[in-house]
Symmetry: C2
């Protein structure tokens, strides 16, 4: 992330998304201090926030937008491990483990993020028990999600995984006025969430369309028959 992306943004006390993250435990004094040590950034769609193996030395708080967390596999393909959105924090695991990040973060749409240096976060971490507890619970939630995801990848067919993922995108990120999924992924990205070849993903989307489960127009996807999709996902 280049320094030119640093911009002036509102104070942390007035930031709404803070309420949705572990940071909600911070006191007014802590928030005032936080406003001083944070830097705010605009990240454009497609830009990299951090890359696998990098030393991030802090955490990011997402004020707006969505990004994907990816991991490079042995065969050279990226796998999307998780989607992260407004109100969530990035880089917590790496900070606690005191290790380089094990995933890359790439913006799926224009984003606003704030960066808080590790030294500052760790201060809150040591002194504010509720804050550290919140971070821990988030990581525990991630671990549970990862376990579920793992079992799905191991036991479900590509078709089931695609149906499930479409429902997940619908439930987690909502839809636009025209009923299409708010989050827009390329076929390639969708394939790398469900763990399949791009062509297989495209083919199954076409099948779903023919079966009346979804509507397709360009990148836009409308879930037409959610009940049936749920049946396909099992």
């Amino acid at each position: 992330m280049s320094p030119k992306n640093i911009i002036i943004m509102s104070k942390c006390e007035q930031c709404i998304v803070r309420e949705f993250s572990s940071l909600k435990a911070l006191t007014k004094e802590e928030l005032l201090k936080l406003s001083d040590c944070k830097t705010s950034h605009i990240i454009k769609k497609g830009e990299v926030i951090f890359e696998e193996g990098e030393n991030v030395n802090g955490i990011f708080c997402i004020k707006d937008g969505i990004c994907k967390l990816t991991k490079l596999s042995a065969n050279g393909k990226d796998h999307i491990v998780k989607l992260v959105t407004k109100g969530e924090l990035l880089g917590q695991r790496s900070m606690i483990s005191d290790e380089p990040v094990n995933l890359s973060a790439v913006a799926l749409e224009d984003m606003q993020v704030c960066f808080i240096p590790k030294s500052d976060v760790m201060g809150y971490f040591d002194k504010n028990n509720q804050f550290s507890m919140n971070v821990m619970k988030t990581i525990c939630g991630d671990l549970k999600e990862a376990d579920d995801h793992m079992v799905n990848l191991a036991q479900k067919t590509v078709k089931e995984r695609l149906a499930e993922t479409l429902l997940y995108l619908h439930d987690s990120f909502g839809k636009n006025e025209d009923e299409s999924l708010r989050i827009q992924l390329s076929r390639d990205e969708l394939a790398s969430i469900i763990g399949t070849a791009t062509e297989s993903c495209i083919r199954l989307l076409s099948d779903f369309k023919k079966l009346g489960l979804i509507e397709l127009s360009g990148k836009k996807i409308v879930l037409q028959d959610i009940a049936k999709l749920k049946k396909v996902a099992e």
Copy 2:
């Protein structure tokens, strides 16, 4: 776990495996108190320590033996998410999230485990910063492992996953005097680690044998050519 399994065991201060878990951070006084609140248990091979959905209300410290952590998938098959052995703790995520456990734990061999009630652990957790930090780092490590595992399941072939798993079993659990893998899994269990049908797993083991990568005699598996196995795993 039935109460009849409770047995008298040595004091925590003298317990060696404690040194390998987050509990190593506890002070002598804390360990003395721990000895009083813990209960010790013998678990026979195949017995269930806890089951998915159960309220465990504490953590288990494994003094001896190995168990599998499994999750039931939608199609009714168990998937082995993780193997846990001597020196590790069980049930930490559930305790911190304050939720039922999301995995079942089943002994793969006879085990000795100690149970520490949640109320006691949480006491150490609040007062001993190093202990809570250790627990957190363990969970962060689990999350990283889960991410890696996920990508492997999504991107690698069954053959690659089998080779990788055999190497993992070798590196993590060692071998017996006769060079065979110390940890003994049924073909069915091996299949449910790599996420495939039992028959496919058996077939690939036969292939590996024909290729001179491994030796098979009953449940015993000897890794004959580790270099080649690594190549197969990529």
